[in-house]
């Protein structure tokens, strides 16, 4: 027979004592593992939340940028370059330029090395009478974006209107219920509706966009344009616009540059503000995550030591009780030759077994509680290190708690026990 058999037989005989001791260890380990699991879950959850917020901010920014593109396009762009002799007062009064410039102005601008503007669109535009409908409209010819020589190709902000097609503002298609594909005639030119814009509440609602060459032909303005729209993508400051004016004046001296897009600027500011708000929300989410983790750590700092101390005391009590209960047995075993070392092994062996079983059960229970009380996370919270720690520390705790009672039992005088009995 070996000592291990004696340990196992004693455990089986006093199973309640074993179960109570294992429960004590399990609770301590479970508190530790649950706390750690919840902290880990909190950290992962916080990271996921922050990542989610970051994605939301990114998506919202992208959406705002798209809106900006649309709004900027709808407003008739940010910068408009007008002919030297354009009467600005008349331009504002008419809602459209009246003077012209050579079309090659746009080529000169595109071939220059101006870096503060991104998109160039020459247009010819004029307020005309739509004779077939007997209404005044703005006829605008556009050829789409002119590529800038020193720039990589960019996504054009305004699509080319193909020849024979027309894009109609709201007031031009809505009354007659015109749709893409509808045929119409403007001042004798047969055109097919390519696109119908929604209501914008601006001059765009009475504008018809046609191909530049077609417009020049209809207006008798071959090789002439009367405005070059320059879409400045970084239109965040007024100073910036002044800078653009200076740059354009170097290439096209005498031309006039007007800023068009206060609404866009406001939206840009709003976008910046929204971004700041989103950033603040992001920071708030991070801070909130940090606070949750700190709070859980603070709880763990109190709970875990309490559970460990409580468990330690509980095992000491059980070990003392066990040693007292086994006094006669130990006395006779000592009498028949077992040394104090054997008795120590009997008690500490049992304590190690209690710790091992308690550590295992405590880990499983703690993991289940920890995951059960945490928000679900995508990553696994299982940590082999903590399992090993539980399986090493729990037996150590149990053995330490049983050490003194074991020592007392080992030091028991068999003669005294035999005389008592």
């Amino acid at each position: 027979m070996k000592i291990s058999r004696l340990i196992v037989q004693e455990i089986a005989h006093r199973f309640l004592n074993f179960v109570l001791a294992v429960t004590g260890v399990s609770i301590a380990v479970a508190c530790l593992v649950a706390s750690v699991t919840m902290i880990d879950a909190g950290e992962i959850q916080s990271e996921q939340l922050v990542a989610q917020r970051q994605q939301e901010v990114k998506d919202a920014g992208k959406k705002l940028n798209d809106e900006m593109r649309k709004i900027t396009k709808g407003l008739g762009f940010n910068i408009v370059v007008l002919a030297e002799d354009e009467d600005i007062a008349a331009f504002h009064a008419q809602g459209a330029p009246t003077r012209t410039m050579p079309q090659d102005y746009v080529t000169r601008l595109a071939n220059s090395e101006i870096v503060v503007i991104n998109h160039l669109l020459p247009i010819v535009t004029r307020k005309v009478e739509w004779t077939e409908k007997k209404k005044t409209i703005v006829l605008t010819g556009t050829r789409g974006e002119v590529p800038q020589a020193h720039r990589d190709p960019k996504k054009p902000l305004l699509d080319l209107v193909p020849k024979g097609k027309v894009v109609l503002g709201y007031q031009l298609h809505h009354p007659d219920k015109l749709k893409p594909g509808s045929k119409l005639t403007i001042n004798g030119r047969a055109l097919e509706v390519a696109k119908c814009h929604a209501e914008r509440g601006t001059v765009d609602d009475v504008t018809a966009w046609v191909n530049l060459e077609e417009a020049q032909d209809m207006l008798g303005m071959q090789n002439l344009v009367n405005a070059i729209l320059a879409l400045e993508c970084n239109c965040a400051t007024i100073d910036r616009v002044a800078e653009i004016r200076g740059e354009i004046a170097k290439v096209l001296p005498g031309t006039q540059v007007l800023e068009r897009g206060r609404k866009a600027l406001a939206r840009a500011e709003a976008r910046n503000k929204a971004k700041k708000t989103a950033d603040a929300a992001l920071e708030s989410a991070e801070e909130s995550g940090r606070q949750i983790i700190e709070s859980r750590k603070a709880q763990a700092n109190v709970l875990v030591p309490l559970a460990v101390i409580g468990s330690f005391a509980w095992i000491v009590l059980l070990a003392v009780g066990n040693a007292r209960q086994r006094r006669g047995e130990i006395g006779i075993l000592r009498a028949i030759g077992l040394g104090s070392r054997h008795v120590l092994v009997l008690f500490l062996g049992k304590a190690l077994l209690v710790g091992l079983v308690g550590g295992g059960i405590g880990y499983v229970a703690g993991y289940m509680v920890g995951t059960g009380y945490s928000e679900p996370v995508q990553e696994s919270l299982f940590d082999l290190n903590w399992l090993l720690i539980a399986l090493l520390m729990a037996p150590a705790l149990s053995a330490a708690a049983s050490w003194l009672p074991a020592l007392v039992a080992a030091g028991q005088d068999p003669a005294v026990v035999l005389q008592e009995q």
């Binding site: 027979m1 005989h13 030759g337 005389q419 009995q421």
Partner: protein
């Protein structure tokens, strides 16, 4: 001389008064001898047995068992000495309650680690008619069976000496006879038996009777 106790003194120190349990007792038991120590309760019989068994150090005098003074050994050495040289039999049997018959008999082998112990245990179990009870625990045995288990345990490591304290105190006549015959047989095979008893029938098995009174030897007759 297997057991030699010379001028042994032992006094128990109490809060109110000191009790002299053994007072200048000298006693020897030779190999092959069966000695019974008798006397009224509290006369020091059990104290003398514990002193002889290396369990209770005397205040004075010399102890020798199988030519070794157990009290000259360290605690651990003395424990091993007991396991190897002395067999104990008690009135209360003192079996380990959660071990079955075989494990109880094998308990002294925990110390020696003797691989032949299992064979001897099986032989002793058969000899004492416990073959069918080998898997039973003490609570499932009769008193006679328990004492036979205790006897088998005492004999497992083939000791030179058996110290028995009222081994028949809880047994009926038949079981008492069996236990005493076993002790007698052990002595006849060259061992030394020191029996402490009240039982006159038990005394009849001894070759020599020592009467203790108030811690002193009142009579020593062979």
């Amino acid at each position: 001389m297997l057991i030699s106790l010379q001028n042994i003194n032992k006094t128990y120190t109490g809060d109110a008064e000191n009790v002299v349990a053994v007072d200048d007792v000298s006693l020897s038991v030779d190999a092959g001898e069966f000695v019974a120590v008798v006397g009224p309760s509290g006369c020091g019989k059990t104290t003398l047995l514990l002193v002889a068994g290396g369990l209770l150090g005397p205040d004075g005098g010399e102890v020798s068992v199988d030519d070794i003074d157990p009290y000259s050994l360290s605690t651990e050495q003395r424990a091993r000495f007991r396991a190897e040289r002395i067999g104990f039999v008690f009135q209360q049997f003192h079996l380990v309650p959660y071990l079955n018959v075989l494990d109880n008999v094998m308990a002294p082998a925990l110390v020696t680690g003797d691989p032949a112990a299992r064979e001897r245990a099986d032989s002793l179990i058969e000899r004492f008619g416990l073959g069918k009870r080998v898997g039973h625990r003490p609570g499932q045995l009769s008193t006679g069976e328990r004492q036979r288990v205790a006897l088998a345990r005492a004999l497992l490591n083939e000791p030179r000496v058996i110290l028995a304290d009222e081994p028949t105190g809880n047994l009926d006549g038949e079981n008492s006879q069996e236990v005493l015959q076993t002790l007698q047989s052990f002595a006849q095979q060259g061992g030394a038996v020191l029996l402490v008893t009240h039982d006159p029938d038990a005394v009849a098995f001894a070759e020599r009777q020592v009467v203790l009174s108030s811690g002193r030897i009142a009579e020593n007759q062979g």
